[in-house]
Amino acid sequence: MGSKLQIDSILRPEVLVIGAGGAGLRCAAEICERRQDTSVVVVTKVYSPQKSHTAAAQGGMAAVDPNDPVDKVLYHMFDTWKGSDCSSDQNIIKKVCESAWEQILWLERRGMHFSRTEEGRIAKRPFGGHMLNFGEVKAFRACYEADRTGKGIMDTVWAESLKHGVVSLNQSVATELLFRNGRCIGAIVFMEQNGKFVAVLAKATVMATGGKTRMYQVSSNCRQNTGDGLALMLQAGLPVMDLEAVQFHPTGIVGPGILASEALRGEGGILRNKDDEPFMERYAPTAKDLAPRDLVSRCIMTEIREGRGCIHADHKLPHVWLDLRHLPEHIHKTRIQEVCSFFCRFVGVEPQSQLCPVTPTAHYQMGGAPTNEFGEVQRDAQQIVPGLYACGEFAAASLHGHNRLGTNSLLELITMGKVVGKRVSAYLDEAEDPGNLPQDAGQHIFGQFSDYLETQGRGRYSEIRDDLRILMTAKVGVFRNEQILREAIERLKELKERAGEIELTSKSLVMNQSLVQLWELHHLLDVSMVIASGALSRKESRGAHYREDYPERSSEFQYHTLAYMTEFGEVTLGRRPIDMSIFEARGEHYEKFGIIERKY
C-alpha cells in the first residue's frame, strides 16, 4: 500500500500560504500589492477560500477612529492589556492598536460593506471590555458590517486575492512542512479531490490555519478547525505557545454551539438565570453583561452549578437565558438580523418575544505558534525559523495573552496578516531559491497515511471523537484543577492508543473523508494533550485559564508557556517572557500597563 503514495508534482511559487482565511489572504494581498507579479499559492481545506471560517465572525473589528472626540488608541491598548490578564505582549498591542484604523480604511476602500452612520461614516458599536478613560464607561469602537463583519472581511480579502491572481489549492491539506538546514522551504499538500500529493517549494511559507476547538462538545468552530497547523508545528519539533488559554464564548446557542454574537449584548441584550435575575450585575457591577468573555463564561457556569440554570428540553443541556425582547424593532431588523435568525432556525425561538437559550461554547485559541512582532515563527524564546511565518488565530504574537476581547480577533488577523505580508515581501528580495525537493520529502505523511490505510482493528472513529469531546469539556474546560487535569492526560493516552486501532472501510485516496478525519482526529488528540499539559503546569488562574485549586493570578507565572511534543504525551515545557515595553518606556499613563488589578 505504501508504494502507492508518491509526490505527483512540484509547484514552485515564491510564497506558499497555508490556510486561506482572513489572515492568510490579507497577507497574500499585501505581498501582491507590494510586489506585483509575485506568485502566491494558497492552500485551503474548504472548496473555495470564501468558505473559510473568518466568514462566520459576527460582531465587529475594533479600531479607534482618529476623528472620535472621546476615544483614544491608548484606551484600546489598556483594555487589551487588562483583558489579557497582563499576559499579552505590549509591543504587539502597540503595533496592532495603532494601525487599526488604517486597516479599516484598507478594507473599506477595497469594497467592504461597513454599516454606516447618518453622515455616511463607518458606524461603531460597543463590545465587551472596550471602555473609555481606562475602564470607566463603554466605548463605541467596534466597526461592523451588520452582524456579518467576518463575512464582509472574508469577501473583501478573497476578492482581492482573485484580483491579484493568487492561485488556490482548494479542498486540500498541508500534511508536512519541508525544511533545509533549518529553513522552511514549503510543504507537502494533499489534494482530497483527486487524492494526489503535491510538493510546494517556496521561498517563504506562511501558516494561517486558524483555530482548533473541535475537541470540545459545544464549539462555535467549523468542522475543519481541527488543529492541523499546530500538529504540523509539533511534528517539526517547533513549539506552540499558551495553548491552555482556550476562550469559551459565553453565548453559544444551546445544542450546536453556534455563536450568538456579543453584539447582542452590545446592543443591550441581558443575561438572566432561571429566576429571571439579570445576574451579571452581581458579578461585574460596572461592565455588567459587557464584561470580558472569560468572566461572563465563568459567571454563567457558576449560575448553572449553583442550580440557577435551566435544562433545554431537546438538547438536554444546561443553559441560561439571553433576553433581547426589550430591544427596538429596528435593531432586530437591521443590526442583529442574522444572529436572531439562528435562534429561530436552530432552536425554534423568536427573540423578539421569547428568551433565547445560551451556554458557553469553545470559541477561540488565544495561543498558537509563537511569533515575534513581524510574524516570524520562533524556534524558542530567542531564535526564529527562517522562511516560516504565521498570522491570524493560528499565531500568537501575542495580542491576546490569556483572554481575548471581542472584535480584537478580526483586528489582529487583518493587521498581522498585513505585517507578515510586508515582512515576507522584504524577505523575498534577498531569499535564496528553495532548491530541489529534499530526499525524504513526504516520508512522514506517507508513513502516517499507510498506517491509516493498512491498520486492521476494532477502534471506532466516532466513539473516540465523542469520548475526546466529553473528556475535554469535563476536565479541560471552563473550570480546571490538578486532579481532573491529571485524569485527562491519562485518558488522552488511552484515546491515542485506541485511535491507532481504527480500521478504515474505504482505502481510496480520492475524496475519502474518513481518511482525512482520522488524520484530523490525531491532530485533535495531539493538541488536546498540549492544552491539558499546559493547563496542569500553570498553577494559577489567568484570563480564560481558571484553576479552582489556584483561583488567583500569580507573579510566578508571569510568562508565556512554550510547549514542544515530538512524541505523544512527552510534552517539554519552556517559557517566553512577556513584553512590557509600554510600561518600561515610562510614557504618559505608563503605570496603567504594569501588573494591574483586573476588575470590571
Binding site: Y47, S115, R121, L162
Partner: protein, 236 residues
C-alpha cells in the same frame, strides 16, 4: 417532550474509483431538532463511514453544504427534521447533490468549475472612486447602502444556480448578483465594464424571470428583483 421520527433517506451515490452510481437507502431514527448535516454524520457514525458529504460552518453562513432534498436546493445545515417533515409532508427523502458541477463522490461536487462564473464577474472593485476630499472612508449614506445591502448577503451556496430554469450559457443568479452589487456600489467607477458583463450574452438576457432563485435562496434575498431591476436599467 422531544419527538422521534423514523426517517428514510434515499441518497445518490457515486464511487469514482469504479465509476459506479447508485441509490442507497438508509433508515434511521432522529429527534425533531436534528439538522440534515447531523443525519449525514449519524449515518457515517452508525451505518456507513464511506458516505461522502460536505459542510463547514454548519449554521448557514458559509454555503458549503448546498444539496437537493426531494428536488429542492437548500442548505443541509439549515433543514431541521421536523421542518423537513412538515415542508415535504413525508418522512422519506431523496438526497442528491446540487446539479451545478460534476460529482466527485456521493454528495460532493467539483465546485471549482461552478465558482469560475463568480470569478468571471470580478467581485472586487475594478476601479475605485477617488477618496473623499476630507480623507478617511468613502461616505455612503444608510439609504444608499440600503438599496443593495441585501444583495451583499449572498454566500455563494449555488442553490439559486441549481434552481434556475436557465441551465446553459448563463453566469447564474449569484454571479449576476455579485456584479449588480458593484454596479450599485458608489465606490465602483468601472460601471461600463460592469454593464458590459451584465448585458453580455451570458448575462441578464439569459434570465427568463421564473423567480426560482428568489424562491430557494437560503438567505431570502430577492435575487430576481435585483436582476429584473437591472434588466430594466432601474438600479439606483
Amino acid at each position: 417532550m422531544s419527538q422521534e421520527y423514523d426517517l428514510t433517506l434515499k441518497v445518490s451515490r457515486y464511487n469514482p474509483d469504479i465509476r459506479r452510481s447508485w441509490i442507497q437507502v438508509y433508515r434511521l431514527k432522529a429527534g425533531r431538532i436534528l439538522r440534515f448535516v447531523d443525519l449525514f454524520q449519524k449515518i457515517n457514525d452508525e451505518q456507513d463511514s464511506t458516505l461522502a458529504w460536505r459542510s463547514s460552518c454548519e449554521h448557514g453562513q458559509c454555503g458549503t453544504c448546498g444539496i437537493r432534498i426531494n428536488g429542492k436546493p437548500l442548505l443541509s445545515c439549515e433543514l431541521l427534521v421536523e421542518d423537513a417533515v412538515r415542508l415535504f409532508k413525508t418522512q422519506t427523502f431523496t438526497v442528491e447533490p446540487l446539479t451545478v458541477a460534476p460529482v466527485t463522490r456521493d454528495l460532493v461536487i467539483d465546485m471549482e468549475k461552478a465558482y469560475e462564473q463568480v470569478h468571471f464577474v470580478k467581485p472586487y472593485i475594478i476601479q475605485p472612486a477617488p477618496e473623499h476630499p476630507e480623507g478617511d472612508e468613502y461616505r455612503i449614506s444608510p439609504r444608499e447602502l440600503e438599496a443593495y445591502v441585501e444583495a451583499t448577503r449572498c454566500i455563494n451556496c449555488f442553490c439559486c444556480v441549481a434552481a434556475c430554469v436557465t441551465q446553459k450559457n448563463y453566469l447564474g443568479p449569484n454571479a449576476v448578483l455579485a456584479n449588480i452589487v458593484r454596479l450599485m456600489d458608489p465606490r465602483e467607477m468601472a460601471k461600463q465594464e460592469r454593464m458590459d458583463i451584465l448585458y453580455s450574452e451570458q448575462g441578464t438576457p439569459r434570465c427568463r424571470t421564473a423567480r426560482a432563485c428568489s424562491f430557494v435562496c437560503p438567505k431570502e434575498i430577492d435575487i430576481a428583483h435585483f436582476i429584473a431591476s437591472a434588466k430594466e436599467g432601474n438600479l439606483k
